[in-house]
């Protein structure tokens, strides 16, 4: 690169310099080649704070060009303020188009949900990760954590799940359920609900996970085994809503969230919900 190429950056609205993008791309390629392994990268500071999607944003900025269409959601909602903020950062700095319809988007960046439909082989899903370490609850020392992953020694995780089941009668893991990817690495599936976990298994789309604060990228390639950790006689349970329906669209097939009164339920995926309702 000539010095003059670099100096031109001053006029651009780019959030990341070219070298940063290359580094993220190299890390992303390694992540896809080693499914579930947390690849370290020199995570740059972004206009959004650490913990607010800086990792997901970096992946998106490294992947997207101006012919892409981008969907950004938070809790399944395109219109949540954080999703809006991230989306406008992406579109303004990359020139990509935006859409709320997952099947129209070539890349979906999401916090805590997988869109109910619309993701296929042409889609890339980028999940924002607050804590990429699935074993954090059973071990605090990072040297030991590195050893456990390197040696595929997940025994402490299994013991902790067993004790959970024995103590509480059910496995009480809420979101971000630990899963074994490609039979090798246990991953933190970010705080997506258990509802979304089965959709990671053998998916037609590539899923990239960005943890900006902890400076790790990992991936689940398409058509890859993703097995939630559980026991043979303890089937994996998704969130139960006792047959509740969405107050807006009337359906029960999507992940529902409730109002504090817990009798009114609504689809978390707002775009899916809108498409179930006849246009008025």
């Amino acid at each position: 690169m000539a010095l003059s190429d670099l100096i031109d950056h001053r006029e651009s609205s780019e959030l990341l310099d070219e070298f940063a993008k290359r580094e993220i791309r190299r890390a992303t390629l390694a992540a896809v080649a080693i499914p579930g392994y947390q690849v370290p990268f020199g995570s740059r500071e972004m206009p959004v704070a650490r913990g607010w999607g800086s990792g997901g944003l970096q992946i998106t900025l490294a992947v997207v060009h101006d012919d892409d269409t981008v969907k950004v959601i938070d809790q399944g909602d395109d219109d949540g303020v954080n999703a809006v903020n991230l989306r406008r950062l992406v579109t303004s700095s990359t020139g990509a188009d935006e859409s709320s319809i997952a099947s129209e988007a070539t890349l979906t960046q999401s916090r805590h949900r997988i869109p109910e439909d619309g993701l296929d082989e042409t889609s890339i899903l980028v999940l924002q990760v607050p804590v990429p370490e699935p074993l954090r609850g059973v071990e605090r020392d990072m040297r030991e954590l590195a050893r456990m992953h390197a040696e595929a020694d997940y025994s402490r995780m299994w013991v902790s799940l067993y004790e959970d089941k024995v103590r509480n009668g059910v496995i009480t893991q809420t979101t971000g359920y630990p899963c074994l990817v490609n039979g090798r690495y246990v991953v933190a599936t970010t705080p997506i609900p258990r509802w979304d976990i089965p959709r990671l298994h053998n998916a037609p789309f590539l899923t990239l996970f960005g943890a900006g604060r902890e400076k790790r990228i990992y991936a689940i390639p398409p058509y890859t085994m993703v097995e939630p950790l559980t026991f043979e006689d303890v089937p994996f349970e998704v969130e139960n809503s006792d047959g509740a329906c969405c107050a807006l669209c009337g359906k029960s097939e999507s992940f529902l969230v409730s109002l504090p009164n817990s009798t009114t339920w609504l689809c978390s995926d707002t775009d899916w919900c809108a498409r179930q309702r006849p246009a008025t």
């Binding site: 690169m1 000539a2 190429d5 780019e14 070219e18 070298f19 993008k21 290359r22 580094e23 791309r25 190299r26 890390a27 992303t28 390629l29 390694a30 992540a31 896809v32 080649a33 080693i34 499914p35 392994y37 690849v39 370290p40 490294a62 992947v63 997207v64 060009h65 101006d66 082989e121 590195a146 390197a150 040696e151 490609n182 090798r184 690495y185 590539l206 390639p221 398409p222 058509y223 890859t224 085994m225």
Partner: protein, 201 residues
């Protein structure tokens, strides 16, 4: 053909093809045609991905190696130490087996190998073998036609990838810019025995 610095968008487009190649191993994808018409397709992965913070090596092509190093700023090192290695013919077994495979603690240090690939013409020549792919990203029934020289390389590759998660990741690039990805997770098994010993997983 003169090598030039890739623009930001060109780098992104090349990267996307390489990413899809790893996400869907064995699938034939296309590098941007206008780039392929301007410079050797084999050079595009390195031009898109390397920079002053990476190491590379193109031992068969010292002039191209020097040009790429100048354009990207990547450091030239011996192939066993390089993060990116380029060959315009199938490398010897010794070369393949000496490429860095990473470690159990740092599997990401495994080498990315860019190889020239001749897309076999139809009908399949007597010299070619069909191999079956499996692993993450591979759609059932994906096969590849490989020449006997390639079969030998694939056997060496299997050895290099015999202790996961360590291993090497490859892109096969044709002169017309078709690219196939073979990340270390892709298993390759022979389907038929033609000519010399097939690449067997």
């Amino acid at each position: 053909m003169q090598l030039t610095t890739l623009t930001s968008k060109e780098s992104t487009l090349v990267f996307r093809a390489l990413l899809s190649a790893f996400a869907f191993p064995g699938r034939v994808l296309q590098l941007p045609l206008d780039l392929v018409s301007r410079m050797p397709a084999l050079c595009l992965p390195m031009l898109a991905l390397t920079d002053i913070e990476t190491t590379m090596c193109a031992p068969d092509q010292p002039e191209l190696q020097a040009e790429i190093a100048t354009i990207t700023g990547a450091r030239t090192v011996a192939s066993r130490d390089a993060q990116f290695v380029m060959h315009d013919a199938m490398p010897t077994d010794e070369t393949t087996l000496n490429l860095h495979r990473g470690t159990t603690y740092q599997p990401e240090l495994g080498c990315r190998l860019v190889l020239a690939w001749n897309v076999p013409t139809l009908p399949a020549s007597p010299d070619s073998t069909q191999v079956k792919l499996s692993g993450p990203g591979v759609v059932n029934g994906t096969t590849l036609a490989v020449s006997s020289a390639s079969a030998a390389f694939l056997a060496a590759r299997s050895v290099a990838n015999s202790r996961p998660p360590m291993g090497i990741d490859c892109w096969l690039v044709s002169a017309t810019g078709e690219v196939i990805g073979l990340p270390r997770t892709t298993h390759i098994a022979a389907m038929s025995f033609a000519g010399s010993a097939p690449g067997k997983n």
